[in-house]
C-alpha cells in the first residue's frame, strides 16, 4: 500500500514507510511517568504571575484565543457577533488585542470570513465530520475542501480515535496526510480528543503520529467530551513538540481546547509553554486556546488591572 510522505524531509521520514515501522516507532517512544507528569504540571501551576507580568500574560492570552462557537444552534447572526467580538474583544478599550481566530463549522466560514475581514483575525473551521470523525475519508475530504473553498485559514480535523485505539496507526496517518493535502495553504490542526485516548502513553503516540503526518498544530480535544484540556496532557504535548523540533527542525503548534474558563487557568498554561517548549511558542502562531467563555474572564481581569476595581459579567458580552 503506497503512502504519501509528509512534505518535509527530515530524520524521521522513514518512520512512516510502513505500518510496522510506524508501530515500532510509536511503541518505542518512552513511556510517560504519570505521577511525574502530573506533579510537574501542578508545580508549574503554582507560579505567581502578578502586576506587569500578569498584564502581559492576559494580553498574550487574549491574542491566542480561538474564539469558538460549535453548536447546532449557530446562526449567521451569532457568528457575525462572534466575529465582531474577535476583532474588538472589549469595545470600551481599543488597546485590547484581537483574538487569534474565530472557530466555526464549515458552513459558517463564509459568514465568519466576512465578519473579520481586514482585521488580521483568522477563520478556523472544524472539519472531517467533527466531533466524532466517523465517516468515510471522501466525506471528510469534501468537508475540508468546502471549508477551504469558503476561505478558512485554518482547519481543525479530528483523528479517527477508533482506528487509533485499535492500533491501526497507518490509517490515522494516511488520513492526516490526505487532509493536509486537501488543506492547501490552510494550516492544519489535528485534534486527538485526549479524553478518549485513555492513557498518557497514547497521547504521546498520537502527538508524534500527528506531527509525523504533517500537522501544523496538535490540539487536545473537541470540547465535546467530559475530559478536555488539562495542564498535564497539554504539558505532555508541549514536550512532544519540543522534542520533535529538536529531532527534525520542524516547529509544530499546540492548542489546548475545552474546559479552560478562567484567566488563572490560561496563565498557568502559558507558564507551561514557557517552561517546556520555550519562548518560541509564546506567540499565537504557535500556541492557541480553544475557548469561548475564557475570553470574557480575560477581559474582566484586564478591566480590573486597568481600573483597579473588580469587573463583572454585566460589562462583557453575553454569548
Amino acid at each position: 500500500m503506497p503512502t504519501s510522505a509528509p512534505a518535509a524531509a527530515h530524520a524521521l521520514t522513514d518512520v512512516a514507510s510502513s505500518d510496522s515501522t510506524l508501530r515500532r516507532f510509536l511503541h518505542g517512544l518512552p513511556g510517560v511517568d504519570t505521577v511525574g507528569l502530573e506533579a510537574r504540571a501542578a508545580a508549574l501551576g503554582t507560579r505567581s504571575i502578578k502586576t506587569t507580568a500578569k498584564a502581559y500574560a492576559i494580553d498574550l492570552a487574549i491574542s491566542m484565543v480561538d474564539l469558538t462557537t460549535l453548536e447546532g444552534a449557530d446562526t449567521p447572526g451569532k457568528v457575525r457577533a462572534l466575529g465582531t467580538k474577535a476583532v474588538h474583544p472589549d469595545p470600551t478599550d481599543r488597546t485590547t488585542p484581537t483574538t487569534a481566530a474565530v472557530c466555526v463549522y464549515p458552513d459558517m466560514v463564509a459568514v465568519a470570513k466576512e465578519a473579520v475581514a481586514g482585521s488580521g483575525v483568522k477563520v478556523a473551521s472544524v472539519a472531517t465530520a467533527f466531533p466524532a470523525g466517523r465517516v468515510a475519508l471522501d466525506v471528510k475530504l469534501a468537508d475540508v475542501r468546502e471549508a477551504v473553498a469558503a476561505g478558512a485559514d485554518e482547519i481543525d480535523m479530528v483523528i479517527d480515535r477508533g482506528a487509533f485505539l485499535a492500533g491501526r496507526y497507518m490509517k490515522v496517518y494516511d488520513e492526516i496526510v490526505a487532509v493536509k493535502e486537501a488543506c492547501g495553504a490552510a494550516r492544519l490542526k489535528v485534534i486527538f480528543e485526549t479524553g478518549e485516548l485513555s492513557t498518557y502513553d497514547n497521547i504521546r503516540r498520537a502527538s508524534w503520529l500527528g506531527m509525523l503526518a504533517g500537522a501544523d498544530f496538535i490540539k487536545t480535544s473537541t470540547g465535546k467530551v467530559a475530559v478536555n484540556a488539562t495542564p498535564a496532557n497539554t504539558l505532555l504535548m508541549l514536550e512532544a513538540v519540543r522534542d520533535f523540533r529538536a529531532q527534525t527542525g520542524i516547529q509544530v503548534g499546540v492548542k489546548p481546547a475545552g474546559g479552560i474558563r478562567t484567566s488563572k487557568d490560561a496563565v498557568k498554561f502559558l507558564v507551561l509553554v514557557n517552561e517546556t517548549a520555550g519562548e518560541d511558542w509564546l506567540d499565537n502562531h504557535w500556541f492557541r486556546f480553544g475557548a469561548s467563555s475564557l475570553l470574557n474572564d480575560l477581559l474582566m481581569q484586564r478591566q480590573k488591572l486597568a481600573t483597579g476595581r473588580y469587573s463583572g459579567p454585566d460589562y462583557v458580552t453575553v454569548d
Partner: protein, 295 residues
C-alpha cells in the same frame, strides 16, 4: 487517671458559597472579649476573599431570586428553627463578644431568633404592600411588582454582633437578594457561627457569604466592585461611609447610609424595601368587545 481533658479549640472559618474556607491570604487576627481576653483567631479576609464571595453570591442569585416567596419564607423559618437548637452556643458567643451577662445575652439571642421569624413572614407579603395594580386611563392592566436588586454587600453593625447582624442580613435575603456580609470587626464570632447554622438550613450555598476581618479593607473592593448592586453601610463609620459612597457611585449602586438604629425595636419594612426595585408592566387586555369585557 486525671479528669483533665485537652481543650478542643474551634477554628473559625469564613462562609463562602456554602463552604467554609480559610482566608485566601492565610491570615488570621486575634479576637478578644470585652475585657481583652483572647477568644479565638478569626480569618482576616483579603480583597480576593471579597471577590470570591461576590462570585458565589452572583451564582446563587438566579436560584434564590427565582425561588417562590413562600419557599424563601419556609427556608428563613427553618433558619430560625436551627438557631433555636443552638441557642446555648449563641448565648455564650454573644455574652463573650459583647460583655453581657448570661441573661441579657439570652434575651438578645431570643430577640434575634424572633427577628428571623418576623422576616420569614414578610417574604410573601412584601409584594402586596409595595406592589399592586395601578389604575390607568386605558384598556390596560398596569402592575407593579418588587424585584430583588441583586448582590448586596452588607457591612454588619460593629456593636450589635448578633441581633444587629441578623437585623441587616435577614431583610436583604428575604426579598430574594444574595448577600456578602462583612462581620463586625471586633466581634465576628457570632457571625461566623451563623454561617454554620445557615449551612444546615436548606439555604442554598452562596445566598449569604460571611467574611471577617478589617471592615475598611474588605469594604473598599466591595464598594468599587462592578458586580455588586447595592451596599448597606450599617457597619461603617462616617469617614469610611463617605469613601465607600463615592466608590459605590461608580456603577450606581444602591446605597443604604448608616443611621442610628435601635435593634431591639420592631424594625419596620425600610430594610426590606431598601434593596428592592419596582418593575412595572403594562399588560394589554385586548378588545373589550361589545359587552365591555373580554372574558
Amino acid at each position: 487517671m486525671s479528669d483533665e481533658r485537652l481543650s478542643v479549640f474551634k477554628t473559625y472559618k469564613l462562609y463562602v458559597g456554602g463552604k467554609f474556607p480559610r482566608s485566601e491570604s492565610g491570615r488570621v487576627y486575634e479576637v478578644t472579649d470585652s475585657k481583652g481576653q483572647w477568644l479565638a483567631n478569626a480569618p482576616l479576609s483579603s480583597r480576593k476573599d471579597a471577590r470570591d464571595a461576590v462570585v458565589a453570591a452572583r451564582k446563587a442569585f438566579g436560584t434564590w431570586s427565582g425561588a417562590t416567596a413562600y419557599n424563601r419564607g419556609q427556608i428563613l423559618y427553618r433558619i430560625a428553627e436551627m438557631l433555636e437548637g443552638r441557642r446555648d452556643q449563641f448565648v455564650r458567643e454573644v455574652a463573650d463578644a459583647e460583655g453581657l451577662s448570661k441573661s441579657k445575652a439570652a434575651a438578645q439571642v431570643a430577640a434575634t431568633i424572633d427577628r428571623w421569624v418576623w422576616y420569614a413572614g414578610w417574604t410573601d407579603k412584601i409584594a402586596q404592600v409595595v406592589g399592586g395594580g395601578n389604575p390607568v386611563a386605558g384598556p390596560f392592566f398596569n402592575l407593579s411588582t418588587p424585584e430583588p436588586t441583586g448582590v448586596v454587600a452588607v457591612l454588619a453593625p460593629q456593636e450589635s454582633s448578633f441581633l444587629g447582624l441578623v437585623s441587616v442580613v435577614a431583610p436583604v435575603i428575604a426579598t430574594g437578594n444574595t448577600a456578602v456580609v462583612v462581620a463586625s470587626e471586633k466581634a465576628p464570632l457570632p457571625a461566623l457561627c451563623l454561617g454554620e447554622v445557615l449551612a444546615t438550613s436548606d439555604l442554598p450555598g452562596g445566598v449569604v457569604n460571611v467574611l471577617s476581618g478589617r471592615t475598611a479593607e474588605i469594604a473598599a473592593p466591595l464598594a468599587a466592585h462592578q458586580d455588586v448592586n447595592a451596599i448597606d453601610l450599617a457597619g461603617a463609620d462616617d469617614v469610611l461611609a463617605k469613601e465607600l459612597e463615592i466608590a459605590a457611585a461608580d456603577n450606581l449602586k444602591r446605597v443604604l447610609r448608616p443611621q442610628p438604629v435601635d435593634y431591639t425595636a420592631t424594625p419596620g419594612i425600610e430594610r426590606l424595601t431598601a434593596f428592592l426595585e419596582t418593575k412595572t408592566v403594562w399588560h394589554p387586555t385586548g378588545s373589550l368587545g361589545a359587552s365591555g369585557s373580554s372574558y
